[in-house]
């Protein structure tokens, strides 16, 4: 059980309903504890800092949005933002964080 790497869980909504040339909202959530390094557990030890620090969304090579996340972002960081696709392409979602955290996902989009 301890050997299997933990799968990174994300929720990405809005990529299916895109229409050609029409701005649409995407909503993404990353399952991540966002520990700010200030809390203590029941034994009085500090729960170490573990944050997701950056998110980027690109449509093919063009940047849609880049976000720098700080401890004030709530657990399971959620971001809603806007994109416009003028034709078929691929949306890339990428997160970086402490302890070498790095996760990347893609969604093919074929706007109607």
């Amino acid at each position: 059980m301890a050997d299997t790497p933990t799968r990174v869980r994300t929720l990405i909504h809005g990529t299916d309903a895109l229409k050609r040339g029409v701005p649409a909202e995407l909503r993404v959530t990353l399952a991540h504890p966002m520990e700010n390094g200030l809390r203590h557990d029941g034994w009085g030890n500090v729960v170490p800092r573990n944050l997701a620090t950056r998110f980027e969304c690109r449509l093919d090579d063009a940047l849609v949005i880049a976000a720098d996340l700080y401890p004030a972002i709530a657990t399971n960081p959620y971001l809603a933002f806007w994109v416009r696709a003028d034709g078929p392409g691929t949306l890339h979602f990428e997160w970086w964080g402490d302890n070498g955290f790095h996760h990347r996902e893609s969604r093919a989009v074929a706007p109607a």
Binding site: L38, A66, P71, L79
Partner: protein, 159 residues
């Protein structure tokens, strides 16, 4: 797996640990105080962000509930009144707070594939305080929106 100690036991243990650290000359409490005094005030960080250029209140809107039930997850929306074409586009949008352990909340950069300068997020607020959204546009103008928020249940910064 043993049960974690009761809050009283945890408090006693924490006092012992802190006492031992102080005795060892580490002065954990002293380090914490130094860390807090090194964090800039909201006015200072706004000044740093502005890079010596004027910031006008307007054009950017920070939507946040005026009364927050749970400071652990506060929905916010930032948006800038601009067309996102030519020089009428937002280069960066920053969100700062007044009283959390750290001033920064979120910093956004919008790229060419973004048609609307608007984003939603969920943030943590340690106490009732002021928030500010700052926007830097491609035409060189800088805009702000200050909002006061009352927080009923504070986000946990230490137990």
């Amino acid at each position: 797996m043993s049960r974690p100690p009761s809050p009283r036991q945890a408090g006693l243990r924490r006092r012992r640990v802190l006492g031992a650290a102080a005795a060892a000359g580490l002065g954990l409490r002293l380090q914490a105080v130094q860390a807090v005094s090194a964090v800039p005030s909201l006015a200072e960080i706004e000044r740093q962000w502005a890079r010596g250029r004027p910031v006008t209140e307007g054009r950017v809107t920070l939507e946040v509930p005026p009364l927050v039930e749970n400071g652990n997850t506060v929905p916010v929306r930032v948006r800038v009144d601009c067309t996102m074409t030519g020089t009428d586009r937002v280069l960066e949008l920053a969100l700062f707070n007044e009283k959390n352990p750290q001033r920064e909340v979120l910093q956004l950069a919008f790229g060419p594939a973004c048609p609307r300068a608007q984003a939603d997020a969920r943030i943590r607020l340690a106490t009732s305080q002021q928030l500010v959204a700052l926007a830097r546009l491609a035409d060189g103008s800088q805009w702000s929106h200050h909002v006061d928020v009352v927080v009923t249940l504070a986000a946990c910064i230490e137990t």
